[in-house]
């Protein structure tokens, strides 16, 4: 696979109830990304957006965003999954040779709608939706319980993940204010309100308002636009089956398959040694451990033994992860942006030293049904 470069990115500050309008936010993200790269509107050849009809309260949610998204009289399309899948489509468009600069933007405003009611529409309408026993809240509880029972992981280990992420988010100026808790302890996490036993409220990535945008260009053009582009050297994506009973919830098969495909494409033989930083989209704290084990960073059940602090062996989510703010449809793009910031040295306050290769992930579906993984490399 030829190398594709990330040449610019921008993310608005995440708010749980922003004072913005939707179009203003999209314009800020896209215009900021283009200005950061020093380009003009005429340089854009294609735009891929990522929004969801149900999260935006209207059908054809890309119909009226033509002006603000920079897609006036340009080749434009919309992916309706996580933002990281929109980056995948932008990547495919650049790799085909037809386009020289792709703008990918995505996000939505979770304060406008009851998030869990809208998530209920993902469930099977015949068997699951009438009683609503299986939904995104209870499936989180199922997954955490399955993981804890199979490997004997204690609730404290999982709460420590949330503590680490919230302390990291306190160093990230763009993260959600409610998630920036610099002095939080394991006891606070365990005593917060029950979400779906054993998941408590502070272990959940809270949905909020936000839009993020990034720019992709092929190798030759990326080197002309900026001095240190971040290269995407590998990508892998895979979807597991839908019904929770058909899957083993204590592991994540789709992340394993995505990891295999991405590492093979990037030529990485030993991910534990070669990867310096990981940015996962973990919708719940226990998913971070499950993903780390699925990719081979630790043995099954020993995910808590990874030193994932910022100055540890393998830092995971130095920016706070999705627990630091989860705008639906934008979180995947934000994970890629944070990994890119680590590679270019722009992550002020939470920079990991000596980063050469990083990974970033996105997911969609209950219990991480569809996962996508990117391998990123710096240019120096």
């Amino acid at each position: 696979m030829e190398k594709v470069g990330i040449v610019g990115y921008n993310q608005v500050k995440l708010y749980s109830d922003a004072n913005y309008g939707r179009y203003e936010m999209i314009f800020e993200a896209v215009r900021g990304a283009i200005d950061k790269a020093g380009l003009k509107k005429k340089d854009i050849t294609t735009v891929v957006s990522c929004t969801n009809d149900y999260y935006d309260g209207r059908t054809i949610s890309n119909c009226f965003t033509v002006d603000v998204g920079g897609s006036y009289l340009t080749d434009e399309s919309k992916v309706e999954m996580d933002g990281a899948h929109a980056v995948l489509y932008g990547l495919m468009r650049v790799l085909s040779g037809n386009h020289k600069l792709a703008v990918v933007w995505g996000g939505s405003m979770a304060s406008c709608f009851p998030y869990h009611s809208a998530r209920l529409y993902e469930t099977d309408p015949t068997w699951e939706r009438p009683l609503a026993y299986v939904n995104d809240i209870t499936s989180a509880g199922f997954q955490m319980r399955a993981y804890m029972e199979k490997y004997g992981v204690s609730v404290d280990d999982i709460a420590k993940v949330s503590v680490k992420n919230r302390k990291n988010a306190a160093k990230n100026p763009l993260a959600l204010e409610e998630a920036q808790n610099a002095n939080i302890t394991v006891k606070d996490i365990l005593e917060s309100e029950i979400y779906a036993d054993p998941v408590t409220e502070l272990m959940v990535a809270q949905p909020c308002d936000g839009i993020a945008a990034l720019l992709l260009a092929p190798e030759k053009q990326a080197l002309k636009i900026t001095d240190n582009p971040v290269w995407i050297t590998g990508v892998g994506y895979s979807q597991d089956t839908y019904y929770l009973g058909d899957r083993d919830l204590s592991t994540c098969k789709s992340m394993e398959n995505a990891g295999k495909m991405a590492f093979k494409t990037a030529g990485i033989k030993n991910p534990k040694e070669e990867i310096d930083v990981a940015e996962f989209f973990e919708a719940y704290a226990h998913e971070e451990l499950i993903f780390a084990e699925a990719l081979g960073f630790a043995d099954k059940g020993k995910g808590a033994s990874i030193e994932s602090e910022i100055n540890g062996n393998l830092p995971i989510n130095p920016s706070g992860g999705a627990i630091g703010g989860n705008p639906p449809c934008a979180t995947g793009i934000i994970r890629i942006i944070e990994a890119a910031k680590q590679l270019t040295g722009e992550a002020n306050g939470y920079q990991v030293k000596g980063v050469k290769k990083a990974i970033a992930s996105g997911q969609i579906g209950m219990c991480a049904q569809n996962n996508i993984l990117y391998v990123l490399e710096g240019s120096n």
């Binding site: 939707r22 179009y23 314009f27 897609s71 006036y72 406008c112 709608f113 009851p114 309408p125 015949t126």
Partner: protein, 176 residues
């Protein structure tokens, strides 16, 4: 599709599909609250109160937007120059909607028009004077603003558009 046409088509599609299990359901789109910015509209609404029309001009492409627009898509910048517009305009497009009066059950015909204000480069959806006969509407028909009685600084200050005498009509060789 109307029941009449559907019944007609069923003559040619004689197939009965076996009914499978169905579950009732509904989705509440009305539980959504929309957020939008209106700061760029405030000067426009203030001038409406004074019975004046203004448009917003983009310095990049020189297009004038009426009503004002947040971002010009062609240049990807926020336009910021206000220009005055005349009260006259012309009909850019129209259609005739057939509305069933819920009281009497009769089908009314109402013209729906898109008006382009003189000096602006956008069209806007409005109503015509209620006494206008729909058979008189044609593309290019000149119209003028009819202000409402109480001006509150809202879009409803433009109540409807009146017809203006068309001096160029006798040069028009094609009659609609």
């Amino acid at each position: 599709m109307s029941k009449r046409t559907q019944r007609k088509s069923l003559d040619y599609v004689k197939k009965d599909y076996v009914k499978t299990r169905t579950m009732p359901g509904n989705w509440y789109l009305s539980s959504y609250t929309y957020k939008f910015n209106l700061t760029h509209m405030q000067p426009f609404l203030k001038k409406l109160k004074e019975k004046k029309l203004v448009g917003l001009k983009c310095p990049g492409c020189n297009r004038v937007f009426f009503p004002p627009r947040l971002v010009c898509g062609q240049c990807l910048i926020k336009p910021n120059q206000w220009v005055d517009l005349r009260e006259t305009g012309e009909v850019a497009s129209f259609t005739i909607a057939y509305l069933k009066d819920p009281g009497t059950g009769k089908v009314q015909e109402k013209p729906m028009v898109l008006i382009r204000q003189d000096g602006a480069d956008t069209v806007y959806m409005v109503e015509l004077n209620p006494e206008v006969d729909y058979k008189d509407t044609y593309i290019g028909m000149p119209v003028k603003v009819h202000w409402s009685e109480d001006l509150k600084g809202s879009l409803a200050d433009i109540e409807y558009y009146d017809l203006v005498e068309d001096n160029a009509r006798d040069l028009d060789l094609h009659k609609e």
